[in-house]
């Protein structure tokens, strides 16, 4: 079992939160600030989590790693890699700046998400500085835990609006024995149709993306299943670097100067007719859109197929996150009021009222 104690700065973080509570001053929580482009602008004093870093415990045979929020994802990935394990949610590292806390707070997952789960699916426990100025622990380091409400998973994707995440325990998994990527020339409509069909079969897919020209697939598993699927699917071998490019938004598609939108839709939705360029990820469940189209038009089109749209370009849109239905918004506000009564944590980052 590896135990390291890099730096426990939780006392200082708690002190800063208590100071903010005493003066009712808003805090802008940030780690590497690598996802500053996402969400509404927050006015407030910066609370920087990066001094609170390091792996608290990691036992590969338990499949659990616990680390402080300010730990860079790159460091976490390196430690896991050494033990032949990985974070299956495949988060973006954004030039090495991204931290564990930011990964959980933003809840953004990479290409493997539909097959291995989102960030929230891996979260087993968290420590949290609350709006009552307490440093508390929820969940734990065990795979199954249904004692009390699942606050840890609630924090995933809450963009710091419910408190300061200081420590996270995550489920990790062994890396697959075999991994190879394929490129199959076909148009997007056929690709989506094929993906819906293959999704019903035990094919060891772990990523599927269409870049406008061809379908890109990643196969992961044992030697036998990967070889059999490769044989069956055909196509040409693809450099695995494609997936890092997709995850880190470095593919040429992302260089397009138009605003970037993330469309989350049911995976079997057909090609979405919207102005601009699209790139399909998550086997069809996530569509990236580069478009000058009006936000209302994009949202209407996506809502019509029971999806939602998030604007990924800073400052382009007053409401980067898809608006909530009225009762949902009311309960979001009530939850915020209960957990952060003074409204000091990232006020307005997700929604003006939250």
């Amino acid at each position: 079992m590896v135990v390291r104690h890099d730096a426990d700065a939780s006392a200082a973080l708690l002190e800063q939160v208590n100071h903010a509570l005493n003066s009712s001053a808003a805090l802008r929580i940030q780690g590497g600030n690598s996802k500053a482009f996402l969400g509404r602008k927050v006015e407030g004093d910066v609370l920087d989590t990066r001094a609170h870093r390091g792996i608290v415990s990691y036992d590969p045979t338990e499949l659990v790693i616990t680390a402080r929020a300010g730990t860079p994802l790159a460091e976490l990935a390196a430690v896991l890699d050494e033990a032949g394990q990985m974070l299956t949610c495949e988060p973006a590292q954004f030039d090495g700046a991204a931290t564990l806390g930011g990964m959980v707070a933003s809840g953004l997952s990479g290409p493997r998400r539909p097959w291995s789960g989102a960030v929230r699916d891996l979260v087993l426990g968290t420590r949290l500085i609350t709006g009552m100025g307490k440093h508390l622990r929820f969940g734990g380091e065990v795979m199954k835990n249904v004692a009390g409400y699942d606050l840890s998973r609630l924090l995933a994707g809450s963009f710091g609006c419910l408190g300061v995440i200081t420590e996270v325990s995550l489920k990790v998994l062994p890396k697959p024995r075999q991994c190879l990527s394929l490129r199959l020339e076909m148009d997007a409509a056929l690709a989506l149709q094929k993906l819906a069909e293959w999704g019903q079969q035990p094919i060891p897919l772990s990523a599927a993306s269409h870049d406008g020209k061809a379908l890109h697939l990643r196969l992961e598993g044992g030697e036998g299943s990967v070889a059999a699927a490769r044989e069956r699917l055909g196509g040409e071998l693809l450099e695995s670097a494609y997936w890092a490019g997709l995850r880190e938004q470095r593919l040429s598609f992302f260089a397009d100067p138009r605003p970037l939108w993330r469309l989350s839709v049911p995976s079997h939705t057909g090609v979405l007719a919207l102005p601009g360029e699209q790139l399909i990820d998550w086997g069809g469940a996530q569509r990236w859109l580069k478009s000058d189209a009006d936000a209302v038009l994009i949202r209407q089109a996506v809502a019509a197929v029971d999806g939602h749209a998030t604007c990924f370009t800073a400052g382009h849109c007053d409401n980067p996150f898809h608006p909530l239905a009225a009762p949902l918004l009311r309960y979001h506000r009530q939850l915020k009021t209960q957990l952060d009564p003074q409204g000091i944590f990232n006020p307005g980052r997700m929604y003006a009222e939250v």
């Binding site: 789960g117 795979m143 199954k144 699942d150 035990p202």
Partner: protein, 499 residues
């Protein structure tokens, strides 16, 4: 300290006039079945935790969501507590009724609304049985992965409310990992959608928060679950060990070899003998522990992994490793495990099933602790263990007809859970807190953490009408429970050596 609702420590419940409420229900919801006589109410006095009973004031059996909507609006106006119930198979008393409340039975909502093979999801009403979903998906070679052992009877609404698990959680996750969307009714009777048909939805992850919230935050009226392609093959290895420690270490070795089995179960000698006696599964009755390791997936991989696991097991000191020869033998191996509870039930008039989880490395110490406690309390304990994910099910054998044995079993169970918390585990992995573990919540969480849980509750149900008293103890209860611990003299059975 009794787990039944005690207004002194659990909070004063609103006073409800039964006959006035009954009259109003009949007037406003004339076509909804309402049970109100003592003999009609009797079958609903408990759920799967049958040692504890409370007769509900009224039982309602709606058949349309509009009726539930109307009922909740009425209860909200009239300040009437509502306890939701699915199939009533829960093991922690999550659906234990209240004398001053309505028991809302959702079991008649049995309709499978849609099975969508292209989207790989099924949309069902909350009273649909867990297994019925997989049966409906079977024609498409798809299935719903979570398989609690009550799956032939338990309903999906209850599965969501409890975040139910099963024997395949390590690889396929709990209920929370296999949901896309739930429709709920709030305490005010307002409809709300959590999650979506896409893989995520805007805003906070309320779907995750509601999963496992034990009917405290809203009433589930529809569930959309993910379906997975059925694994091509599944093979089971049965390994025998001459010590529980070795079996425990073998589990870690399998995972260290980079293999995640579909199921990985351990049983100790008492459980092995009970199961063998009952099912004749071919278990080695002289082994101190057995491991059942199921490998599933694509045929070529499974074949390869079986070979790898066999080597690991032998190196870890297994005295025998058997691969189920065929599907019939595989089913037989599993039948022994799946019937372990009733099998143990044959050894004793009653048994009490615990549900603690621990980091796997703590297994030898915890088993030793359990065996010491078993001796101290004079009650036998059989151990069945979801070894892959650290979820223990110690079964405490007792006889409720012997005065005091139930209380002793309950105290012993509480001690086992506290032991789990002490080594970094949890008091419940999949059965839920309900009323059963309400006192042990005070060991796992401090008062500030409990205050935050109550704050979450207040955001969704400020008047506290939904399933009052479950899941999260009041600080008052914990204070009393804590003082009971400190002042030994107040414990029941002072003649027993405990500390």
């Amino acid at each position: 300290m009794s787990i039944l609702y005690d207004e002194r420590v659990d909070g004063v419940l609103p006073k409800v006039d039964k006959s006035a409420l009954l009259a109003e229900l009949r007037e406003q919801l004339p076509d909804m079945d309402v049970l109100h006589t003592q003999e009609d109410l009797k079958p609903y006095e408990c759920d799967g935790l049958s040692a504890y009973t409370t007769t509900p004031m009224l039982v309602v059996l709606p058949e349309r969501i509009e009726q539930v909507e109307r009922l909740l609006k009425l209860c909200y106006q009239r300040n009437v507590p509502v306890v939701a119930r699915g199939a009533g198979t829960g093991l922690s008393g999550g659906a234990l009724p209240l004398e001053q409340g309505i028991l809302l039975v959702m079991a008649r909502f049995k309709h499978i609304i849609e099975v969508n093979p292209e989207g790989r999801y099924a949309r069902v009403q909350p009273g649909v049985r867990n297994l019925a979903i997989s049966q409906a998906a079977a024609p498409y070679d798809l299935y719903y992965a979570p398989d609690p052992s009550s799956q032939i009877a338990c309903s999906i609404g209850g599965n969501v409310a409890e975040n139910a698990g099963g024997v395949h959680c390590l690889k396929y996750g709990l209920t929370v990992h296999n949901l896309l969307k739930v429709e709920i009714l709030t305490v005010e009777g307002e409809r709300m959608t959590l999650g979506s048909d896409a893989l995520d939805s805007p805003g906070f992850d309320l779907l995750a928060l509601f999963t496992g919230s034990e009917g405290m935050l809203g009433i589930i009226t529809e569930v959309t679950v993910k379906l997975l392609p059925k694994p091509q093959v599944a093979k089971v290895l049965l390994a025998s060990f001459d010590s529980v420690e070795k079996a425990g270490r073998a589990v870690g070795e399998i995972i260290a070899a980079g293999i995640i089995p579909g199921g990985l179960e351990m049983m100790d000698n008492l459980a092995i003998r009970a199961a063998e006696d009952f099912i004749h599964a071919g278990y080695p009755v002289d082994a101190e522990a057995i491991l059942l390791c199921e490998l599933d997936g694509v045929e070529a991989d499974v074949h390869d992994e079986c070979d790898r696991v066999k080597v690991v097991l032998i190196q870890a000191g297994a005295t025998e490793v058997r691969l189920a020869r065929d599907e019939a033998e595989r089913v037989k191996f599993w039948a022994g495990r799946k019937n372990a509870f009733p099998a143990v039930g044959r050894l004793s008039p009653d048994y009490y099933c615990m549900d603690g989880t621990i980091p796997r490395r703590e297994l030898p110490g915890v088993l030793k602790g359990i065996s010491d406690l078993s001796e101290e309390f004079g009650l036998r304990v059989a151990n069945v263990f979801h070894a892959g994910d650290g979820n223990m099910h110690p079964l405490i054998l007792f006889d409720a007809n012997q005065p005091g044995e139930l209380d002793r079993a309950e105290t012993l169970g509480g001690k086992i859970l506290e032991l789990c918390v002490k080594v970094g585990g949890s008091i419940t992995g999949e059965h839920g807190v309900g009323r059963e573990k309400i006192n042990q919540m005070c060991s796992q969480f401090n008062s500030d953490e409990l205050i935050l849980f109550h704050a979450v509750k207040a955001a969704f149900d400020p008047s506290g009408l939904l399933n009052p008293g479950k899941n999260i103890p009041t600080l008052h209860r914990c204070a009393e429970f804590g003082s009971m611990h400190v002042h030994h003299g107040k414990l029941p059975f002072p003649e027993l050596e405990r500390f």
